[in-house]
Symmetry: C2
């Protein structure tokens, strides 16, 4: 299913803001109906006919598209900036053609064609980037081609002894789960983008999902990779782990299409989680809840899902709730989820620990409500944009001792830049023994130039992260948007390493130019 070109997700699921929520948003931020968005006309393909013919010659006519709708749907990703630009009719980043390989060799053939003709190639999976990862530099190239991977949608191998499975990169989250379910298996990787994002995209961006507490980050479950690069084929993953030099898999993970096209991914799988339970807890404060999370994982007690909203996010979430009869709660809500037998085997010890650490159990109803709506938030963003409220998210990670400093600094940077009529909400949804991720949601009154408004606020928040020693991104990746901060984060020697890999693998620079590499 294609997403709407100017909105998130399934067009059939788009809804206006419910009246009750709109009333609250109106009080806190103010709303105003915005004019209906026109579908802007698209520039013609800039690729000369002979180049298009030669590309069709490589992969066949039906694998190459230049029609408006196909190209429109592969223009940028789904950040709020992307949506604002699309709503404003700015389609300047549209690719000149979309090419759809079915297998590794076809992807490799496209790269050879692109090298020969110096055409920029943007690997495209689910199209859910929120960091400008699909916006290649056009200058200096004969054109820009979107390399759509969704035809590479096969589960290639399952090894139930080793509990590994090999996928083509274009398998979307739900399809991966359906393919594994036949074998009684699951991946258990549920990022917000789950319904649309692809296996290859998860790998290329170091995705982390809502079940990361128990199931790990996506990069932790990758055991093997096959990659088409301009200099040839790369196969990695001779063992779960080894000491055969630097782990080159870790150089491909997070490479965002700039080093090569991931054409196969071998992943650790788990027994299907036939039993699942989600429950809510309340803690007196964000700090008290965060401390409980820290101690829990440092005691090696991990549920599958572990999330904690700060006071503001807890208030907003409960205000938007419709179950009037439910107990009123003050403090901070935590969601604790158990997916599968192994996780449920730890439930008793985790429950005892959370109680001892100051939590009060609220039962399963609120937990199940969270699970039922776990992929819904991006639809709400569109409904908010429709009433003139700019909503965006950003995220970072740091060590536990630095958590409060980063939290305060990023909140202050956002509130200070965006001024009154701004809500800044935060939750912790990924935890490690040594630290955690902080995920911020911002809602503010749209200014006359919302793109400019957000760029300033985002820059201040990003500066605050780096000034505190935190990372520019825990799981959204770099794209174009985070590039200046990546350069600060890894320093000039780190940048030299990235450039060294880039020029080794992509000497003519055709792969996603302008993305990732500072």
């Amino acid at each position: 299913m294609d997403m709407h070109p100017q909105r998130w997700g399934d067009p059939a699921l788009a809804k206006p803001l419910p009246d009750a929520i709109r009333g609250l948003v109106d009080m806190a931020i103010g709303t105003a109906d915005t004019p209906a968005v026109e579908i802007a006309p698209l520039p013609q393909t800039g690729l000369p006919a002979d180049l298009l013919d030669s590309l069709r010659g490589v992969l066949g006519d039906d694998a190459v598209a230049v029609d408006d709708q196909t190209r429109r749907l592969r223009t940028r990703g789904k950040s709020t900036l992307d949506l604002l630009r699309a709503r404003a009719g700015d389609l300047s980043d549209v690719p000149d053609a979309v090419v759809r390989p079915r297998a590794h060799d076809e992807a490799a053939a496209v790269l050879a064609w692109a090298v020969a003709h110096h055409v920029a190639v943007v690997p495209f999976g689910g199209g859910t980037s929120v960091v400008g990862g699909l916006v290649a530099r056009r200058q200096g190239y004969a054109g820009v081609v979107s390399l759509d991977l969704l035809r590479m949608d096969q589960l290639l191998a399952v090894d139930k002894i080793s509990m590994i499975a090999t996928f083509q990169p274009g398998v979307r989250g739900p399809d991966a789960e359906a393919l594994l379910a036949v074998h009684g298996l699951t991946l258990g990787h549920y990022p917000q983008s789950f319904e649309f994002a692809s296996i290859g995209g998860f790998a290329a961006t170091r995705s982390s999902g809502q079940s990361s507490c128990g199931n790990g980050r996506f990069d932790e479950i990758v055991v093997g990779l096959r990659v088409a690069t301009p200099i040839g084929e790369l196969r990695l993953g001779s063992a779960p782990a080894n000491a055969a030099g630097p782990d080159l898999r870790e150089a491909v993970l997070g490479s965002e299409g700039a080093f090569g096209v991931i054409t196969e991914v071998t992943l650790r799988v788990r027994p299907a989680a036939d039993v699942k339970a989600y429950e809510a807890w309340v803690f007196p404060s964000f700090t008290a809840g965060a401390e409980a999370m820290r101690k829990l994982v440092q005691r090696e007690l991990r549920p599958t899902v572990l999330r904690l909203s700060d006071e503001a996010e807890t208030f907003v979430n409960l205000a938007g709730q419709t179950n009037i009869g439910a107990e009123q709660v003050s403090g901070c809500l935590m969601v604790v989820g158990y997916e599968g037998t192994a996780a449920l085997g730890r439930r008793r010890m985790i429950t005892e620990a959370l109680s001892e650490l100051g939590g009060r159990p609220l039962g399963e109803q609120r937990g199940q409500e969270w699970a039922a709506g776990r992929f819904a938030a991006p639809y709400l963003r569109d409904a908010m944009l429709d009433v003139g409220v700019l909503v965006e998210t950003l995220e970072t990670a740091t060590f536990w001792s630095n958590r409060d400093r980063v939290y305060q600094a990023v909140k202050a940077a956002l509130a200070g830049t965006l001024g009154e009529r701004t809500l800044v909400l935060c939750h912790i949804s990924h935890v490690y023994e040594t630290g955690c991720a902080l995920y911020f949601t911002v809602a503010t009154r749209e200014a006359a130039d919302p793109v400019g408004q957000w760029l300033v606020a985002k820059a201040k928040a990003s500066d605050a992260m780096l000034d505190c020693g935190a990372t520019i991104t825990h799981h959204h990746a770099v794209g174009v948007d985070h590039k200046p901060w990546l350069a600060r984060e890894v320093g000039p020697v780190g940048v030299a390493m990235l450039r060294g890999l880039k020029s080794a693998l992509d000497p003519t620079g055709i792969l996603n130019p302008g993305v990732l590499i500072p």
Copy 2:
């Protein structure tokens, strides 16, 4: 404490082969007293006096040594090949000088000096490499300097909230534990080389320890790195994990001194393991025991230590035992260890699972015996060499479904090459949800040319690993010895990545030339 230049470990702990063991070895392999080894004279330093003077000018006189004993002790590592060459009086790999920085800036200054004068630099920690990681190419350089890191022996920072600690690289295993014990903390990293190897070496070689089942590989506990490179300083580790591009830490881990000198390592630490328990189990066969290991970790039930000997290793270990009264055992011995409260909290469930999976508990005595002798094996190798028995180890890792194939192929390659009077023993000591490491010990009658004899056998065993799709090394690293097989394992594109990083970080190639990079 310095190790003996021609043997493993503390010279005071060297002992001849006990009579009982010698009797057994004599039956199985044959023994012959070998002549006492002479300490061969050392070639003079090849570095011109003006270069030595300029190096002394950089770091001070007392940081630079050219005397025989200091240079002799930094000649090669501790593989059996290294010992055989040293016993034969071959000191051709001796460094021209040993330089000992105290801090990052001094290490960086040595690199600047080495670049200016095109001198090869070999970073040297505990000197326990078993893969030729300390044998730099001499041709084309003004000389070879051993960069001894053992003066960089400080614990720089402890953060008990985040449970992380920052070390200088020259801290040896026991000293790291003593420094952490003051804070009630432990690292819990116990490779065979623990008593001599250093924090920097663990990081540079992707070490894995005997407690890896519960505590992870060394690369998994590294959260931050500071590195001196010829192009400047690199600092990595802004968060436990992130999506800020490829994880560059993973390019430094395993880089074996070829990309830079690791000058600080920030590590995840744990609460001191005040309580420890080790127990033995017996399984009917190696396959039955391996299957039990697999199912245990796939159910997410991890003790701290989990080891399984094959039939041959079980027989030899029990034959060498002195507790005559103990129950006779046939089958395969497993050692299961619990270090610390969190691991002991899982003991009941693990015990139930192991029983259900076909294991029979033998109690704690044999487990405690294993723990008491956990670092002793290398001393036995010297005693065996003294009676003309060549002993060496090699190791690999693969996915569970490939375990038996790799096991049979490597055993056959070794036995087939070395012929009669050869023992090949194997154990599994590192497990993952998706696979495991296989560790082989070989003992054979020394031929007239033992170096050549071993090179042929090792090549056949290495070919067998690669032919089966396994890795050339799970935790011994690459050095010079594994370089041809690394090239096969990662292929030409992987080699291009390594070379790309090498030329970005060390453009004049002064760092450990000839090591790691094919």
